[in-house]
Symmetry: C2
């Protein structure tokens, strides 16, 4: 195979972590865009907004008053999708199959400063967020009813985020979500066969090739995965095979924070806008099983395609068939890297 | 289990066709919405628009002139994501795995009338669209390089549709897309074990219960699947076990068209707007295998949640975990049924 084939012709790439494919159509980036444009709001926000339910000292919808917090503030989601006190039941009626699901959903404010995002925070400030994630992962994971902890952030109105105050969420639950289950299987199969980490072996290959690596420090690598779906999708992963964020040394937490800072700053420069995305950490379930096969990583799924106002729509073909992308992973790397 | 549990408490439901789960949080519908609102354009469009590249007699971007068509008009996508003449290659370099993918992408105009959508067309007019889908499925499927034909429609700007002229697309290719592959496996496993159609047996259960059925005629049923993900997701399926749209009798094509007409009209009434969605037909691959296990069906995935301007965002938790819905399938049925 000519290496240029991947830059010129339709092909599919295999996601080793989920076992699914992505369709890549490099030639299609030339298509003119006549569809919907997103709204952009590049207005600078105030550091405090009296109508924001996440700002320090403000009252939330349920009447609770936020403390006068200085760095990170965590509370249980006032409209949690999962509840810890609901009854246990299951339905097995022919082809109607359902099971109760319990859990705990939390909101985590990254900073009291309403005007900021992770991209405006220093590695030291972000490290405090990482510490909070570690504590939550541990505390929730220790709960016998919780077997998986999903840490994520929806950033930007276009990603369904209803409040621009810098914050993320943590949904923890008793069973493994679909995506986690897929990654569990793929990593387990590989580990059983090769006695090494699937993601670790992949990272070694990428570090050798340096075609999709955006940034690295001693402990972490930031790259566009070979099988990336979203136009500017990226992944941050520890070079060392560690299965959850609690296994990091203190030095690693700071280098992880640095990787987040570098990436989010570059993102903001890409289209000259506060770059929207959903980011999430996939890591070892807290079900007490032997989860050595897990290698934790954080992924960023940003929707923008061509500019601050033109996003990629994952619709028709993507919903019924396979996710499809226009620009290749390799061209995305070049664009992001140029902004470091 | 109390039947009310499913209406009151968080649970997950199993999609028998894909083998994946959806998280249902009925109590969460009470959450106030403070996020992004979509733009709505309820303006009546003209029957002909001289700047529309799909209207009869107009010139497309590549210089071709559309014929003066009277009902359905089909042409090869000017910016096809899949091409039929690209080279064959594959990459198997450690954990970097890719394969060339070829195919043919077409656009199908449902009517020369720029102002219409399927919801404004009569069953007889829609039947002509069904005939065209059948012909395309057959013609593309007969091509030895094509093993799967994906028929779909993206409707509305919010679904990435760049032109309001009534039209859909057909992407056909040499391998099975992810979603089709999942449904192939689930149906095959069930058929091998039970010697009957998975979807057929499910439909029989739903027709008996009548809790999720929106509409039925002699040959077709329109329902909200037990495992629906999108707030107003629906499925149209033939009662008879037929694996592709080519196997329909002429009477069935008309009853299918009627089902589409009834459903899309009710959708438009729901929020008093031309209801956006992606719709797609999943059917038997054209790979020449014994595909008796397939039972074809058409699904509608509409994004709106609460009104013409508030959609459901499938973001953070949904991308990293499992799709999550607020209103239950059963309440969606009641709302749609009231509009028939
Ligand atoms: O081909 P269109 O209508 O221009 O494009 C639309 O549908 C395609 C197929 O679902 C998607 O890949 C695009 O993201 C979407 O904008
Ligand atoms: O909880 P939020 O931020 O109000 O809601 C947002 O994130 C959730 C978790 O990804 C999604 O289910 C919602 O659709 C989205 O609007």
């Amino acid at each position: 195979m000519e290496n240029t084939d991947l830059q010129d012709y339709s092909h599919k790439r295999f996601n080793i972590l989920t076992g699914e494919w992505v369709l890549v159509s490099p030639h299609r980036a030339k298509r003119p865009w006549q569809g919907q444009n997103e709204e952009v709001n590049n207005e600078k926000r105030p550091t405090y907004d009296k109508s924001c339910y996440l700002c320090a000292g403000n009252t939330r919808i349920n009447g609770e008053v936020n403390p006068d917090y200085k760095d990170v503030f965590i509370f249980t989601n006032d409209f949690a999708a999962l509840q810890s006190d609901s009854p246990t039941f299951s339905l097995n009626d022919g082809l109607l199959i359902a099971e109760s699901e319990t859990g705990i959903c939390k909101v985590i404010c990254f900073s009291p400063d309403h005007s900021k995002s992770l991209a405006d925070m220093s590695p030291n400030e972000i490290q405090k967020v990482v510490y909070a994630w570690q504590e939550q992962y541990k505390e929730l994971g220790d709960n016998p009813k919780i077997n998986y902890v999903q840490i994520f952030e929806n950033k930007g109105a276009v990603m369904g985020c209803s409040n621009p105050h810098p914050h993320g969420q943590i949904w923890s639950q008793s069973t493994l979500p679909n995506e986690v289950d897929k990654k569990n299987t793929q990593q387990l199969n590989y580990f059983s066969k090769n006695k090494s980490s699937l993601l670790g072996d992949y990272l070694a290959q990428e570090l050798e090739k340096q075609e999709r690596v955006i940034f690295e420090n001693d402990k972490f690598v930031v790259l566009v995965p070979f099988w990336a779906v979203w136009p500017f999708e990226t992944m941050i992963a520890p070079k060392r095979h560690i299965s959850s964020i609690s296994d990091m040394t203190d030095e690693e937490t700071l280098q992880y924070a640095e990787a987040i800072a570098v990436l989010t700053k570059a993102y903001d420069k890409l289209f000259n806008t506060s770059f929207p995305y959903s980011a999430g950490i996939h890591q070892c379930p807290t079900n007490g099983n032997d989860n050595k096969h897990w290698h934790w990583h954080m992924s960023f799924y940003p929707p923008l395609l061509r500019s601050a106002t033109v996003k990629k729509f994952m619709v028709g073909y993507e919903m019924f068939g396979t996710p499809q992308r226009d620009i290749t992973a390799e061209s995305a790397v070049k664009m992001i890297k140029a902004l470091l």
